[in-house]
Assembly symmetry: C3
Protein backbone atom coordinates (compact mmCIF):
# COMPACT_ATOMS: atom_id res chain seq x y z
CA UNK A 1 0.00 0.00 0.00
CA UNK A 2 1.17 3.54 -0.73
CA UNK A 3 0.25 6.05 2.00
CA UNK A 4 1.35 9.68 1.79
CA UNK A 5 0.61 12.43 4.29
CA UNK A 6 -0.39 15.95 3.18
CA UNK A 7 -1.03 19.42 4.52
CA UNK A 8 -3.99 21.60 3.56
CA UNK A 9 -3.53 23.73 0.45
CA UNK A 10 -5.85 26.08 -1.43
CA UNK A 11 -9.56 25.34 -1.75
CA UNK A 12 -11.70 26.33 -4.72
CA UNK A 13 -15.42 26.36 -5.39
CA UNK A 14 -16.86 27.33 -8.72
CA UNK A 15 -19.13 26.82 -11.65
CA UNK A 16 -18.42 25.18 -14.99
CA UNK A 17 -19.64 26.89 -18.14
CA UNK A 18 -22.79 25.78 -19.92
CA UNK A 19 -21.84 23.64 -22.91
CA UNK A 20 -18.25 23.06 -21.76
CA UNK A 21 -16.66 19.65 -21.49
CA UNK A 22 -16.60 18.49 -17.85
CA UNK A 23 -13.25 16.74 -17.97
CA UNK A 24 -11.39 19.21 -20.19
CA UNK A 25 -12.64 22.25 -18.25
CA UNK A 26 -11.54 20.86 -14.91
CA UNK A 27 -8.22 19.65 -16.28
CA UNK A 28 -7.57 23.06 -17.75
CA UNK A 29 -8.38 24.72 -14.41
CA UNK A 30 -6.17 22.34 -12.47
CA UNK A 31 -3.25 23.04 -14.80
CA UNK A 32 -3.86 26.79 -14.79
CA UNK A 33 -3.84 26.85 -10.97
CA UNK A 34 -0.91 24.42 -10.96
CA UNK A 35 -2.49 22.04 -8.47
CA UNK A 36 -0.16 19.05 -8.13
CA UNK A 37 -2.15 16.98 -5.67
CA UNK A 38 -5.73 17.25 -4.52
CA UNK A 39 -9.27 15.95 -4.45
CA UNK A 40 -12.25 17.02 -6.55
CA UNK A 41 -16.04 16.85 -6.26
CA UNK A 42 -18.69 17.91 -8.78
CA UNK A 43 -22.48 17.86 -8.89
CA UNK A 44 -24.77 19.21 -11.59
CA UNK A 45 -26.34 18.04 -14.81
CA UNK A 46 -25.14 17.26 -18.33
CA UNK A 47 -26.66 17.13 -21.78
CA UNK A 48 -24.97 13.84 -22.56
CA UNK A 49 -22.02 11.85 -21.30
CA UNK A 50 -19.39 9.35 -22.33
CA UNK A 51 -17.98 7.16 -19.57
CA UNK A 52 -15.19 4.64 -19.82
CA UNK A 53 -15.27 1.17 -18.31
CA UNK A 54 -12.07 -0.79 -17.93
CA UNK A 55 -11.86 -4.31 -19.32
CA UNK A 56 -9.65 -5.88 -16.66
CA UNK A 57 -8.84 -8.90 -18.83
CA UNK A 58 -8.05 -7.14 -22.11
CA UNK A 59 -6.54 -4.14 -20.26
CA UNK A 60 -8.35 -1.56 -22.38
CA UNK A 61 -11.09 0.97 -21.67
CA UNK A 62 -14.27 0.83 -23.70
CA UNK A 63 -16.54 3.85 -23.87
CA UNK A 64 -20.25 3.87 -23.09
CA UNK A 65 -22.22 6.78 -24.54
CA UNK A 66 -25.08 7.90 -22.32
CA UNK A 67 -27.71 10.03 -24.00
CA UNK A 68 -28.94 12.92 -21.90
CA UNK A 69 -30.28 14.80 -20.20
CA UNK A 70 -28.62 13.38 -17.10
CA UNK A 71 -28.16 14.51 -13.51
CA UNK A 72 -24.58 14.38 -12.20
CA UNK A 73 -25.29 12.62 -8.90
CA UNK A 74 -21.67 12.32 -7.85
CA UNK A 75 -18.32 12.96 -9.44
CA UNK A 76 -15.31 12.41 -7.23
CA UNK A 77 -11.63 11.86 -7.76
CA UNK A 78 -8.13 13.13 -7.45
CA UNK A 79 -5.37 15.25 -8.92
CA UNK A 80 -1.84 13.90 -9.30
CA UNK A 81 0.82 14.06 -12.03
CA UNK A 82 1.50 12.23 -15.23
CA UNK A 83 4.55 12.96 -17.39
CA UNK A 84 5.27 15.88 -15.05
CA UNK A 85 1.89 17.59 -15.61
CA UNK A 86 -1.21 17.75 -13.37
CA UNK A 87 -3.63 14.95 -14.26
CA UNK A 88 -7.19 14.33 -13.22
CA UNK A 89 -8.76 11.01 -12.28
CA UNK A 90 -12.53 11.26 -11.86
CA UNK A 91 -15.38 8.78 -11.59
CA UNK A 92 -18.97 9.83 -12.15
CA UNK A 93 -22.50 8.68 -11.25
CA UNK A 94 -25.34 9.91 -13.47
CA UNK A 95 -29.12 9.42 -13.49
CA UNK A 96 -31.56 9.49 -16.38
CA UNK A 97 -35.09 10.95 -16.42
CA UNK A 98 -36.43 7.99 -14.43
CA UNK A 99 -33.72 8.25 -11.78
CA UNK A 100 -31.83 5.10 -12.84
CA UNK A 101 -28.11 5.41 -12.16
CA UNK A 102 -25.16 4.76 -14.47
CA UNK A 103 -21.52 5.68 -14.44
CA UNK A 104 -17.87 5.09 -15.08
CA UNK A 105 -14.48 6.69 -15.50
CA UNK A 106 -14.72 10.28 -16.76
CA UNK A 107 -13.23 10.97 -20.18
CA UNK A 108 -13.83 13.70 -22.75
CA UNK A 109 -17.48 13.80 -23.85
CA UNK A 110 -19.56 14.94 -20.87
CA UNK A 111 -21.26 18.15 -22.00
CA UNK A 112 -22.06 20.37 -19.01
CA UNK A 113 -25.58 21.73 -18.56
CA UNK A 114 -24.73 23.01 -15.08
CA UNK A 115 -21.75 22.02 -12.95
CA UNK A 116 -20.57 23.03 -9.47
CA UNK A 117 -17.16 21.89 -8.32
CA UNK A 118 -15.07 21.80 -5.15
CA UNK A 119 -11.31 21.33 -5.39
CA UNK A 120 -9.09 20.80 -2.38
CA UNK A 121 -5.36 21.11 -2.94
CA UNK A 122 -3.04 18.97 -0.82
CA UNK A 123 0.59 19.91 -0.17
CA UNK A 124 3.16 17.17 0.21
CA UNK A 125 4.77 14.30 -1.70
CA UNK A 126 4.27 14.25 -5.47
CA UNK A 127 2.13 11.38 -6.74
CA UNK A 128 3.22 10.47 -10.26
CA UNK A 129 1.28 8.03 -12.44
CA UNK A 130 3.22 5.39 -14.34
CA UNK A 131 2.07 2.37 -16.29
CA UNK A 132 1.48 -0.53 -13.93
CA UNK A 133 2.19 -3.87 -15.59
CA UNK A 134 -0.24 -5.92 -13.48
CA UNK A 135 -3.34 -3.84 -14.28
CA UNK A 136 -2.28 -1.98 -17.43
CA UNK A 137 -3.42 1.28 -15.74
CA UNK A 138 -1.46 4.45 -14.96
CA UNK A 139 -1.10 4.13 -11.20
CA UNK A 140 0.96 5.80 -8.46
CA UNK A 141 4.16 3.82 -8.24
CA UNK B 1 -16.07 29.68 -15.50
CA UNK B 2 -16.46 31.00 -11.96
CA UNK B 3 -13.58 30.07 -9.66
CA UNK B 4 -13.43 31.35 -6.09
CA UNK B 5 -10.74 30.60 -3.52
CA UNK B 6 -11.59 29.81 0.12
CA UNK B 7 -9.99 29.24 3.50
CA UNK B 8 -10.89 26.43 5.89
CA UNK B 9 -13.78 27.13 8.25
CA UNK B 10 -15.53 24.98 10.85
CA UNK B 11 -16.08 21.26 10.31
CA UNK B 12 -19.03 19.31 11.64
CA UNK B 13 -19.85 15.61 11.90
CA UNK B 14 -23.16 14.38 13.20
CA UNK B 15 -26.20 12.21 13.05
CA UNK B 16 -29.63 13.00 11.65
CA UNK B 17 -32.68 12.01 13.68
CA UNK B 18 -34.67 8.88 12.84
CA UNK B 19 -37.79 9.90 10.94
CA UNK B 20 -36.54 13.38 10.10
CA UNK B 21 -36.49 14.83 6.59
CA UNK B 22 -32.98 14.67 5.14
CA UNK B 23 -33.10 17.95 3.25
CA UNK B 24 -35.02 20.00 5.81
CA UNK B 25 -32.88 18.79 8.74
CA UNK B 26 -29.64 19.67 7.03
CA UNK B 27 -30.96 23.00 5.78
CA UNK B 28 -32.11 23.87 9.27
CA UNK B 29 -28.68 22.98 10.69
CA UNK B 30 -26.85 25.00 8.04
CA UNK B 31 -29.01 28.04 8.80
CA UNK B 32 -28.70 27.61 12.58
CA UNK B 33 -24.89 27.44 12.30
CA UNK B 34 -24.97 30.28 9.76
CA UNK B 35 -22.75 28.48 7.26
CA UNK B 36 -22.58 30.68 4.15
CA UNK B 37 -20.37 28.48 1.96
CA UNK B 38 -19.34 24.86 2.30
CA UNK B 39 -19.55 21.28 1.17
CA UNK B 40 -21.67 18.45 2.54
CA UNK B 41 -21.56 14.64 2.53
CA UNK B 42 -24.08 12.16 3.92
CA UNK B 43 -24.36 8.37 4.04
CA UNK B 44 -27.02 6.27 5.71
CA UNK B 45 -30.39 4.79 4.88
CA UNK B 46 -33.90 6.11 4.35
CA UNK B 47 -37.42 4.75 4.60
CA UNK B 48 -38.41 6.33 1.29
CA UNK B 49 -37.20 9.13 -0.92
CA UNK B 50 -38.33 11.70 -3.46
CA UNK B 51 -35.71 12.89 -5.93
CA UNK B 52 -36.05 15.60 -8.53
CA UNK B 53 -34.84 15.29 -12.11
CA UNK B 54 -34.49 18.39 -14.24
CA UNK B 55 -36.16 18.52 -17.63
CA UNK B 56 -33.56 20.55 -19.52
CA UNK B 57 -35.95 21.31 -22.40
CA UNK B 58 -39.03 22.32 -20.40
CA UNK B 59 -36.88 23.86 -17.64
CA UNK B 60 -38.84 22.27 -14.81
CA UNK B 61 -38.03 19.61 -12.23
CA UNK B 62 -40.21 16.51 -12.06
CA UNK B 63 -40.21 14.39 -8.94
CA UNK B 64 -39.58 10.65 -8.82
CA UNK B 65 -40.87 8.89 -5.70
CA UNK B 66 -38.69 5.97 -4.63
CA UNK B 67 -40.28 3.50 -2.25
CA UNK B 68 -37.99 2.30 0.51
CA UNK B 69 -36.20 0.97 2.29
CA UNK B 70 -33.16 2.44 0.54
CA UNK B 71 -29.47 2.77 1.34
CA UNK B 72 -28.02 6.28 0.94
CA UNK B 73 -24.91 5.36 -1.05
CA UNK B 74 -23.74 8.90 -1.60
CA UNK B 75 -25.14 12.36 -0.97
CA UNK B 76 -22.85 15.24 -1.85
CA UNK B 77 -23.28 18.90 -2.53
CA UNK B 78 -22.71 22.43 -1.44
CA UNK B 79 -23.90 25.35 0.66
CA UNK B 80 -24.24 28.83 -0.82
CA UNK B 81 -26.83 31.60 -0.55
CA UNK B 82 -30.16 32.35 -2.13
CA UNK B 83 -32.11 35.52 -1.35
CA UNK B 84 -29.50 36.26 1.33
CA UNK B 85 -30.07 32.99 3.23
CA UNK B 86 -27.94 29.80 3.35
CA UNK B 87 -29.15 27.32 0.73
CA UNK B 88 -28.32 23.68 0.19
CA UNK B 89 -27.74 21.93 -3.13
CA UNK B 90 -27.46 18.16 -2.74
CA UNK B 91 -27.51 15.20 -5.11
CA UNK B 92 -28.13 11.68 -3.85
CA UNK B 93 -27.47 8.07 -4.90
CA UNK B 94 -29.70 5.39 -3.36
CA UNK B 95 -29.93 1.61 -3.67
CA UNK B 96 -32.90 -0.71 -3.26
CA UNK B 97 -32.97 -4.17 -1.63
CA UNK B 98 -31.29 -5.71 -4.69
CA UNK B 99 -28.50 -3.10 -4.76
CA UNK B 100 -29.75 -1.31 -7.90
CA UNK B 101 -28.90 2.38 -7.82
CA UNK B 102 -31.12 5.40 -8.42
CA UNK B 103 -30.85 9.07 -7.66
CA UNK B 104 -31.40 12.73 -8.37
CA UNK B 105 -31.53 16.20 -6.89
CA UNK B 106 -32.51 16.16 -3.20
CA UNK B 107 -35.80 17.81 -2.30
CA UNK B 108 -38.16 17.45 0.65
CA UNK B 109 -39.39 13.86 1.01
CA UNK B 110 -36.41 11.70 1.99
CA UNK B 111 -37.33 10.18 5.36
CA UNK B 112 -34.20 9.34 7.35
CA UNK B 113 -33.78 5.86 8.82
CA UNK B 114 -30.16 6.61 9.76
CA UNK B 115 -28.01 9.46 8.49
CA UNK B 116 -24.41 10.53 9.15
CA UNK B 117 -23.22 13.83 7.77
CA UNK B 118 -19.99 15.77 7.31
CA UNK B 119 -20.10 19.52 6.69
CA UNK B 120 -17.06 21.57 5.81
CA UNK B 121 -17.42 25.34 6.01
CA UNK B 122 -15.41 27.47 3.59
CA UNK B 123 -14.54 31.10 4.31
CA UNK B 124 -14.30 33.53 1.42
CA UNK B 125 -16.37 35.09 -1.35
CA UNK B 126 -20.15 34.77 -1.07
CA UNK B 127 -21.75 32.57 -3.71
CA UNK B 128 -25.28 33.79 -4.39
CA UNK B 129 -27.75 31.86 -6.54
CA UNK B 130 -29.79 33.76 -9.09
CA UNK B 131 -32.01 32.57 -11.90
CA UNK B 132 -29.93 31.74 -14.95
CA UNK B 133 -31.85 32.37 -18.17
CA UNK B 134 -30.02 29.77 -20.26
CA UNK B 135 -30.76 26.82 -18.00
CA UNK B 136 -33.69 28.07 -15.91
CA UNK B 137 -31.78 27.01 -12.78
CA UNK B 138 -30.67 29.06 -9.78
CA UNK B 139 -26.93 29.25 -10.41
CA UNK B 140 -24.00 31.25 -9.07
CA UNK B 141 -23.79 34.38 -11.18
CA UNK C 1 -29.66 15.56 16.05
CA UNK C 2 -26.05 15.07 17.11
CA UNK C 3 -23.71 17.80 15.86
CA UNK C 4 -20.03 17.86 16.82
CA UNK C 5 -17.43 20.39 15.75
CA UNK C 6 -13.91 19.34 14.70
CA UNK C 7 -10.52 20.77 13.78
CA UNK C 8 -8.43 19.66 10.82
CA UNK C 9 -6.14 16.69 11.45
CA UNK C 10 -3.80 14.72 9.19
CA UNK C 11 -4.67 14.06 5.54
CA UNK C 12 -3.64 10.96 3.63
CA UNK C 13 -3.73 9.98 -0.04
CA UNK C 14 -2.66 6.57 -1.22
CA UNK C 15 -3.14 3.45 -3.23
CA UNK C 16 -4.61 0.12 -2.17
CA UNK C 17 -2.80 -3.05 -3.20
CA UNK C 18 -3.96 -5.13 -6.14
CA UNK C 19 -5.91 -8.11 -4.85
CA UNK C 20 -6.40 -6.70 -1.35
CA UNK C 21 -9.76 -6.42 0.36
CA UNK C 22 -11.08 -2.85 0.17
CA UNK C 23 -12.68 -2.76 3.60
CA UNK C 24 -10.05 -4.71 5.52
CA UNK C 25 -7.15 -2.76 3.98
CA UNK C 26 -8.64 0.60 4.85
CA UNK C 27 -9.64 -0.53 8.34
CA UNK C 28 -6.14 -1.80 8.96
CA UNK C 29 -4.67 1.53 7.79
CA UNK C 30 -7.06 3.54 9.94
CA UNK C 31 -6.13 1.49 13.01
CA UNK C 32 -2.39 1.62 12.24
CA UNK C 33 -2.53 5.43 11.93
CA UNK C 34 -4.83 5.57 14.97
CA UNK C 35 -7.39 7.83 13.29
CA UNK C 36 -10.28 8.23 15.73
CA UNK C 37 -12.55 10.44 13.62
CA UNK C 38 -12.48 11.28 9.94
CA UNK C 39 -13.91 10.99 6.49
CA UNK C 40 -12.88 8.70 3.64
CA UNK C 41 -13.20 8.67 -0.15
CA UNK C 42 -12.14 5.97 -2.62
CA UNK C 43 -12.35 5.54 -6.39
CA UNK C 44 -10.98 2.70 -8.50
CA UNK C 45 -12.06 -0.67 -9.75
CA UNK C 46 -12.61 -4.09 -8.24
CA UNK C 47 -12.65 -7.67 -9.46
CA UNK C 48 -15.84 -8.44 -7.55
CA UNK C 49 -17.76 -7.02 -4.63
CA UNK C 50 -20.11 -7.93 -1.82
CA UNK C 51 -22.36 -5.16 -0.55
CA UNK C 52 -24.74 -5.27 2.37
CA UNK C 53 -28.29 -3.92 2.31
CA UNK C 54 -30.14 -3.36 5.55
CA UNK C 55 -33.57 -4.86 6.04
CA UNK C 56 -35.17 -2.09 8.09
CA UNK C 57 -38.06 -4.32 9.22
CA UNK C 58 -36.12 -7.44 10.19
CA UNK C 59 -33.14 -5.35 11.39
CA UNK C 60 -30.55 -7.49 9.67
CA UNK C 61 -28.17 -6.92 6.77
CA UNK C 62 -28.34 -9.22 3.77
CA UNK C 63 -25.41 -9.46 1.39
CA UNK C 64 -25.58 -8.98 -2.37
CA UNK C 65 -22.68 -10.50 -4.32
CA UNK C 66 -21.77 -8.48 -7.42
CA UNK C 67 -19.69 -10.27 -10.01
CA UNK C 68 -16.95 -8.18 -11.52
CA UNK C 69 -15.21 -6.52 -13.08
CA UNK C 70 -16.70 -3.34 -11.62
CA UNK C 71 -15.73 0.33 -11.51
CA UNK C 72 -15.77 1.93 -8.05
CA UNK C 73 -17.69 5.09 -8.94
CA UNK C 74 -17.89 6.43 -5.42
CA UNK C 75 -17.04 5.14 -1.98
CA UNK C 76 -17.56 7.59 0.86
CA UNK C 77 -17.95 7.35 4.58
CA UNK C 78 -16.55 8.00 7.98
CA UNK C 79 -14.26 6.85 10.78
CA UNK C 80 -15.44 6.73 14.38
CA UNK C 81 -15.06 4.24 17.24
CA UNK C 82 -16.72 1.02 18.25
CA UNK C 83 -15.75 -0.83 21.44
CA UNK C 84 -12.92 1.69 21.83
CA UNK C 85 -11.32 0.91 18.45
CA UNK C 86 -11.38 2.88 15.16
CA UNK C 87 -14.24 1.68 12.96
CA UNK C 88 -15.04 2.39 9.34
CA UNK C 89 -18.48 3.05 7.84
CA UNK C 90 -18.39 3.14 4.04
CA UNK C 91 -21.01 3.09 1.29
CA UNK C 92 -20.08 2.25 -2.28
CA UNK C 93 -21.41 2.81 -5.81
CA UNK C 94 -20.20 0.42 -8.50
CA UNK C 95 -20.84 0.05 -12.24
CA UNK C 96 -20.73 -3.03 -14.43
CA UNK C 97 -19.42 -3.31 -18.00
CA UNK C 98 -22.53 -1.56 -19.38
CA UNK C 99 -22.27 1.31 -16.90
CA UNK C 100 -25.29 0.28 -14.80
CA UNK C 101 -24.87 1.28 -11.16
CA UNK C 102 -25.28 -0.78 -8.01
CA UNK C 103 -24.21 -0.41 -4.43
CA UNK C 104 -24.63 -0.75 -0.71
CA UNK C 105 -22.89 -0.81 2.62
CA UNK C 106 -19.25 -1.96 2.33
CA UNK C 107 -18.34 -5.20 4.06
CA UNK C 108 -15.54 -7.70 3.55
CA UNK C 109 -15.53 -9.10 0.01
CA UNK C 110 -14.61 -6.26 -2.37
CA UNK C 111 -11.42 -7.41 -4.11
CA UNK C 112 -9.38 -4.39 -5.25
CA UNK C 113 -8.20 -4.19 -8.86
CA UNK C 114 -7.05 -0.58 -8.35
CA UNK C 115 -7.97 1.74 -5.51
CA UNK C 116 -7.08 5.35 -4.68
CA UNK C 117 -8.12 6.74 -1.32
CA UNK C 118 -8.28 10.06 0.50
CA UNK C 119 -8.58 10.12 4.28
CA UNK C 120 -9.15 13.29 6.26
CA UNK C 121 -8.66 13.06 10.02
CA UNK C 122 -10.82 15.27 12.24
CA UNK C 123 -9.76 16.27 15.76
CA UNK C 124 -12.43 16.75 18.41
CA UNK C 125 -15.14 14.87 20.30
CA UNK C 126 -15.03 11.06 20.12
CA UNK C 127 -17.91 9.49 18.23
CA UNK C 128 -18.63 6.03 19.66
CA UNK C 129 -21.04 3.60 18.02
CA UNK C 130 -23.51 1.77 20.24
CA UNK C 131 -26.48 -0.39 19.37
CA UNK C 132 -29.51 1.79 18.70
CA UNK C 133 -32.75 0.05 19.69
CA UNK C 134 -34.98 1.85 17.19
CA UNK C 135 -32.99 0.89 14.09
CA UNK C 136 -30.94 -2.07 15.31
CA UNK C 137 -27.82 -0.36 13.90
CA UNK C 138 -24.62 0.71 15.64
CA UNK C 139 -25.08 4.47 15.71
CA UNK C 140 -23.44 7.42 17.46
CA UNK C 141 -25.29 7.85 20.74
Amino acid sequence: MIVNEYKAGREFVGRLDYGSDLFLSLLSLVREKDIETGVVEVIGACKKSVVAIYDQDKKVYHNVALEGPLEILSCTGNISKIDGKPALHLHIVLSNHEGSAFGGHVVEGTEVFAGEFYIRELLGPTLERKRDEVTGLNLWG
